[in-house]
Every structure is written in C-alpha cells, then in structure tokens.
Amino acid sequence: MKHTTPLHRRTLPPNLVGSDSTPSLTLRSDRKRNFRDAVERVLTRSWTTCLSITVAALTGCGQKESTDPGAAGGQRPVVITQKPVEIRVKGSDTMVQLATGWSEAYRKVKSNVFVNADGGGTGTGFAALQNNTCDICDASREIKKEEIEKTKTVTGKDVKEFVVAYDALAVYAHPSNPINEISIEELREIWAENGAVTSWEQINPAIKGKIALFGRQNNSGTYDYFREHICGQTSAGKQRELRGGISEMNGSAEVVENVSKTPLALGYSGMGYKTPDVKWLKVSSKKGEPAVEPGTDVARSGKYPIARKLYLYTAGEPAGEVKAYIDWILSPEGQKIVEKEGFVPLK
C-alpha cells in the first residue's frame, strides 16, 4: 500500500478520489476503499490508459477550480462513486479536429468519461475497429462492403453506421486568380489521368500559365472522395485515377497553405480550412449551369456538387457510455461543435 501513494498522486484525477477539503470521517474511509480500487485499476491497465488519465487529470485540475467552486460541500461523494471510462476514437484525419472538439466539450458534460480521439485515416480507423483497438471509428467515407464483411468475420458483429455531420470539399485558388467559378467537367479534365487541361488559359484566357495542383496524399479519405466524385469513369467503365504531377500534401491545412503561396495554384481540401489568404471557386455540376459557392445549406441539400456525409461507425450496437456519447453528438449540443469546427451540422 505504501508504495502506491505516489502513483495515485500522479495518475488519478483529483475529482475521482475526492479532495482533502472534504472533512467527514465516514467519507474518508469510503474514499480509502475507492482509492484502493482506483489504484488497482490503474495498475492493471496499460500505460497508455494511465497516460491519458494523467493528461485528463492535469487538464481537469485547471477546469475544476474555475467551474466547481462549491466542491467543499457534501456533493463530492456523488462524483466518487463514478468510475472513469475511456472511449477510444480513431479514424479520419479530416475529422480529427471535430473529434477532439467533441471530446473536450463532452468532459464538461460527463467528467468521468475520457474520449481519446485519434486520427490516422479512415482506413486505419476501420482496421482498428476490426482489431478492437477503438470503440468508435470516424469515417469521411461510407464503409466498403469488404470492410463490413471483414469486421463481421473478425469480431462477429455487424457495423453500425451514424451520419453525424456533412463536409463539403472546397476548390481553393489564389485570391489573385481572376477565375471565380468552375464546372465539374473542367475539374475532371484538370485532375484526372490523361486529362486535357494543364494550363489556365484553357479555362479562361484572362489567366496564363501552368496549373499547379495541390491535393492530399493517396491514402487519405479526402483523396478517395475527390477521385470518386471528380474523375468519373474511363471508356472501359472503370474509375478514372488522378493524374501524376499533383503535389500530394500530408494535411488539409498544408494544401491551403501552399495554395495561398502560389498564384497559379488549384487545390482541394475540406471547407473548414479556409483562410483569408485563399479563395473558394464556385462549382457547377455542368458547364453553363449556375455555380454554387460552398456553404452549409447547399452542402446539406445536395445543391453543392462536392459535399459528403461524415460518419461514426461502431462494431455492433453501441451500449453504455459509447451510446450516451453518440447520442450526445447527435443532440443539438454536439451539433453546435460541428458548426464551430467548420463543418456542416445535420440540421
């Protein structure tokens, strides 16, 4: 017992073991038992969990002082009886900001639930769901048939899908570019393999020079999505690939950063990454049709041609804290975070 004391100080959030300001004797013995339980829990868990709890404790400390001034009263035991729960979230890089936003806001709703939000890519998230190394998978595309089957054979559970937000892929250009709108057909000839358009004067004589293309790396969900929606099909009925000679960036913000520094640039990235140094091109589904500027209403209604749904997936019907978390995400409170992070809420 004596050797565990420093460990408890290091790893457990103070609001879980009670604070020293609670004077009652009965509480103290209660606390002792809880404390022993907690230490055992910590010792039997992997170090990553310990680490996440440490981080949560450190950040929690600061919050507690400001939001919980009446802690010295008799309310502490209520908190004491709750066990810390960890929800592991992994998946789409596009959704990392959003997932972190949710996890931070949720700590104020339920202080004993620690949501560990991680990126890595949609494909990585599905793999983690199969290996049971995550509870929820963020996905910026719909799950593929073989991924459903693989999850079924490995875990024995059907995947459950939740649409949680919309995302619109915006086409970014430099502010000095005189072009303001572009059609899907033109985008196809610019981006697809063997496409006919390589320089700006083929789109509009007002601007001259080769188009510098900036996209995402070939294992990101954004890349998959853009290829699927822009490149179309070859004459043989197969999906057309993206052309070579595209600068493939490792992050959505990096695409925007590069476009802002390159006058002849054209790039695609999530709608949430716009900065004052770049501009959106309005997109029309066909040349001659009215072009639509990316925005929340048009993304939801499907008027904007390159909008997509964002999903959460779980293996099997979610239960307990995971279910409560997903319900909260779908509630108006969770959807407020969606809007705050630059995505499009469901309603």
Binding site: A127, K238, E241, S247
Partner: protein, 331 residues
C-alpha cells in the same frame, strides 16, 4: 613506502592482465558490430520485401512514373517508381553541386586562413548549424526559402527573363516556377544540411596533414593558395572525399526536410524549379497508413532496398576511386 608502491603497481598490472582477454573480445565485438548491424538491417528490409520481389513488374517499376499504390476499387495498382528515383537523385545532385564547393571552401578558410577568435566562432557556428533538426529545415524550405525562390524565378510571359528561364531549363513555363516548393528549394535545403558535415570533416582532414608539409611548401616559395591546392588537397584527398561522400549520404537519406520542401509531386522534372518527389519522402508519407503485409507495404520496402543499394554502391565506388588515385600516385 617505496616498496609498498611497487607492490601496488604490480597488483594493478596483474589485474589488468587478467582482463586483457575479455577486453580484447569486447573491442573486437565493437569492431564487428557495424557489420552485424548492417547485415541485420539488410535482412530485415529484405525479409519484408521478399514476397513481392518475384511478383513485381520490375521493368515497369524502373521505367514508369505512374505511382498509384491505392487505386480506385476495381483498378489494378501501378508501382512505377521512375519519377521517385529521378527525384531522389536530382535533389541529391543539386545539393552536392552547392554543398561541395561551399563546404570545401569553408574548410580551407577555417583551417588555413582564419586566425584566432574568428576561427573559433566560425567552428562553433557551423557545429550549431549541424544541430538544427531536419523538420525545422523543412519548414524553412516551405515558409521562407520557397517564397524567395518563387519570387526570383517568376516573370511576365514573353519577358526576357521568362525566355531565358525556358531556354536554360530553369523553369518549364515562361511565367517561371509554378510553386515555391520544388527541386531547387529541396536541393538548397539539403545542401545547407550537409554543409556543416562536409566542413567539419574536411577541416579535420586538412588539419591532419603534418605541418612539415606546409613548411616545406612555403620553403619552396609557394603561397598559401598554392600550398592548399598542390600540397594539402592531394595529401588530405581521402579525408576530403570521405567528407563529401558522407555529405551525399546525408542528402540522399534525408526525409522530413524533402517531404516539406520539394512539393512531394510525382513527376519527372523538366526544369530546375519543377516540384519533385523522393523515395524517402514517399516511404515516410505512405508507410504509416498501409496495411501491414499488403503489396503496397512490400513495395515501400523494395524502395528502401533500392535506396540502400544505391548508397552502398556510391560508397564502394568512392572507395575504389580513392584506391585508384592512390595507386596512380605511387607508380
């Protein structure tokens, strides 16, 4: 008292005597460890790549620039690494063209011309330069050097500078460089990263030349420059070549800096300011998200083997060159 000291000395001697064998073994092990390490690394890389070696279309791998490892559903993947090879060697070549003269020049200045405080300051600053992490160099390339190079290599279409750029393959279009992160930016960043290595190693090599050589040259009436060119360079030849080779090794194997500074763009560069993509950056960007054991994963290891063989080949070649020069001098 004197006798006591003698006994102690003898005792100490005996103690070391007993340790001699294990120490010898230990030192031998240290000597062999690098060989063991290299063999183990090669075995590991080869083991991961092996299942793909008979399946890979090698001609396509070395001649096609079509790198599509994650094709759309229903399409076959395409592993054409020609553009990655060209990108790697082009950036390294540009880096060496800049780094070797600058590095050797700086080494000669520090070892033969600089005196006193200036010499010490220079040495310290150059060593500081070597301590900058590569990701920082990458950011400098992306945020600072890229825009500068973009500014220099930009012209109005039809202007003289635009025509010169196209004529001398400085840019593919008359408007100049399409983007700031390109071959030249990557090359300059790599040069800046390998210069400190080249300088400190060459300076060591020059300092290792006995002073009697310098004195003899001066006595024959040579000035400092003649001494450096006719006496010191030939005498320190091996060390200088080794310094350049290590600089090249640093440049060819660098990953994070080129990932940020070259544009990471899979194409054959036609001009100095075209964006490129290197093998190392490709491995770094794609390894993290490939499925363990998939074709894509194995091909990334094959890229690693190609890189490994290339650097080994360069080192062996430089060794042979050094030996060849030695022989020619002796006969």
């Amino acid at each position: 008292m004197a006798e006591f000291q003698k006994v102690r000395a003898r005792k100490k001697f005996r103690f070391l005597d007993a340790l001699e064998k294990p120490i010898e073994v230990l030192i031998r092990l240290c000597g062999w460890s690098s060989i063991i390490g290299i063999a183990a690394i090669f075995l590991f890389i080869f083991k991961e790549a092996a299942p793909m070696v008979p399946k890979l279309d090698w001609i396509h791998f070395f001649t096609s620039a079509r790198w599509i490892p994650n094709p759309a559903p229903g399409n076959p993947p395409s592993f054409g690494a020609w553009a990655l090879l060209v990108g790697t060697f082009a950036t390294t070549f540009i880096a060496l063209i800049i780094a070797v003269p600058v590095g050797l020049g700086a080494a000669v200045y520090i070892s033969e011309f600089a005196r006193g405080k200036g010499k010490e300051t220079l040495k310290i600053v150059i060593e500081l330069l070597a301590a900058i992490p590569s990701i920082v160099w990458g950011f400098i390339g992306l945020m600072v050097l890229g825009p500068i190079i973009k500014g220099i290599f930009t012209a109005a279409p039809g202007s003289a500078w635009g025509k010169i750029m196209v004529a001398f393959h400085l840019a593919t279009a008359e408007t100049g460089a399409s983007q700031g992160t390109n071959l030249l930016t990557g090359g300059v960043i790599l040069a800046l990263m390998s210069v400190p290595l080249i300088v400190s190693l060459s300076e060591d090599a020059l300092r290792a030349v006995p002073d009697s050589f310098r004195e003899a040259a001066l006595a024959l009436g040579a000035n400092t420059w003649e001494t450096v060119r006719r006496v010191l360079f030939p005498a320190a030849r091996n060390g200088l070549l080794a310094a350049c080779m290590l600089g090249m090794g640093r440049a060819i194997g660098e990953t994070m800096a080129v990932l940020l500074a070259t544009g990471h763009n899979n194409r054959i560069p036609e001009a100095l300011t075209d964006p490129v993509r290197t093998m190392t950056a490709t491995i770094a960007a794609e390894m993290g998200e490939t499925v363990h054991g998939s074709e894509h994963y194995r091909v990334l290891f094959i890229l690693g083997i190609v890189l490994f063989i290339a650097t080994c080949g360069i080192n062996v070649a430089s060794d042979l060159i050094v030996k060849g020069v030695k022989k020619a001098n002796q006969s």
